[in-house]
């Protein structure tokens, strides 16, 4: 083990990017949904 260096760690990167993508997609979906609801009613 090289001292003081993080080896690997891709799982953290994947987790952070996945959360970001999921959050942005969920919010964008909610916006489109709310807009449609507000405009059609």
């Amino acid at each position: 083990m090289p001292d003081g260096v993080i080896v690997g760690g891709w799982s953290y990167v994947i987790a952070a990017y996945s959360v970001t993508a999921a959050g942005l997609i969920a919010y964008a979906w909610s916006l489109v949904h709310r807009r449609r609801k507000a405009e059609l009613e």
Binding site: G9, T20, R34, E41
Partner: protein, 233 residues
């Protein structure tokens, strides 16, 4: 219903494209960091979310003043939109930061001043939206939203400057001099990507608000009609 192509759709698509390009460079082209290794790549989404959340809150603060001054519905709508999109980025920021913290600092969370003020920031602005949802009268709702936004904004400069003013676990801001050039490139691309996506989101949120308002006016004209007037008059 045919909808014509709006300016914000173009901006949103551009943001999405840039986010793919920036993330690709960040994940596969930029070098790993000498100590943090691959985990440093979280920076390319974490820092753009931080910058844009603070930018949106700052815009919300300015819009809130204009809203209070002019009392036009559109300013109330953009204030709300900026606050809401700011909250989304702020929440993402906290989760990304937590993951990065586990990898580097060794803990998911610490009551350090940067982390604490960032958490307070999301709670304060969530409070603005909560307060807003309790007020039925559109005029009063706009007034209270604006005042709450102005008060909540106090925490934003605090989040930025706290790491210089007080001791913290979180490091101080980096500058282009302290970041390798190949890391600055994806960081900047993603910063603009998130900015464009945030503007698209704000535009959608403004439309939701204005459509709802038009709807309320049809449904309950007697209640909404005197915009800015009080209900007990």
């Amino acid at each position: 219903m045919t909808r014509q192509f709006k300016w914000d759709s173009g901006l949103g698509l551009l943001g999405l494209l840039l986010l793919f390009v920036g993330s690709y460079i960040g994940l596969f082209v930029a070098p790993a960091e000498r100590y943090m290794g691959e985990t440093q790549r979280i920076m390319y989404v974490h820092v753009p979310c931080a910058w844009n959340a603070m930018l949106l809150y700052t815009l919300a603060f300015i819009f809130a003043i204009v809203s209070l001054w002019t009392h036009r519905p559109k300013w109330d709508a953009v204030t709300t939109a900026a606050v809401e999109v700011g909250i989304v980025l702020n929440a993402l920021l906290l989760v990304q930061g937590s993951i990065w913290a586990r990898a580097t600092w060794g803990v998911w969370w610490d009551w350090d001043v940067r982390l604490t003020t960032s958490l307070i920031m999301v709670l304060l602005f969530a409070g603005v939206l909560a307060l807003r949802s309790f007020v039925h009268d559109a005029g009063r709702r706009a007034t209270w939203t604006a005042i709450a936004t102005i008060v909540a904004f106090v925490d934003v400069p605090l989040v930025y400057f706290c790491v210089r003013w007080w001791r913290s676990l979180h490091q101080v801001q980096s500058t282009p001099d302290t970041v390798a050039p190949m890391m600055v490139v994806p960081l900047r691309i993603n910063a603009f990507a998130i900015l464009f996506l945030a503007i698209w989101m704000m535009a959608q949120r403004v439309r939701v608000e204005l459509a709802r308002r038009a709807q309320d006016q049809v449904a309950e004209p007697e209640r909404i009609a005197p915009i800015g007037g009080s209900t007990n008059a």
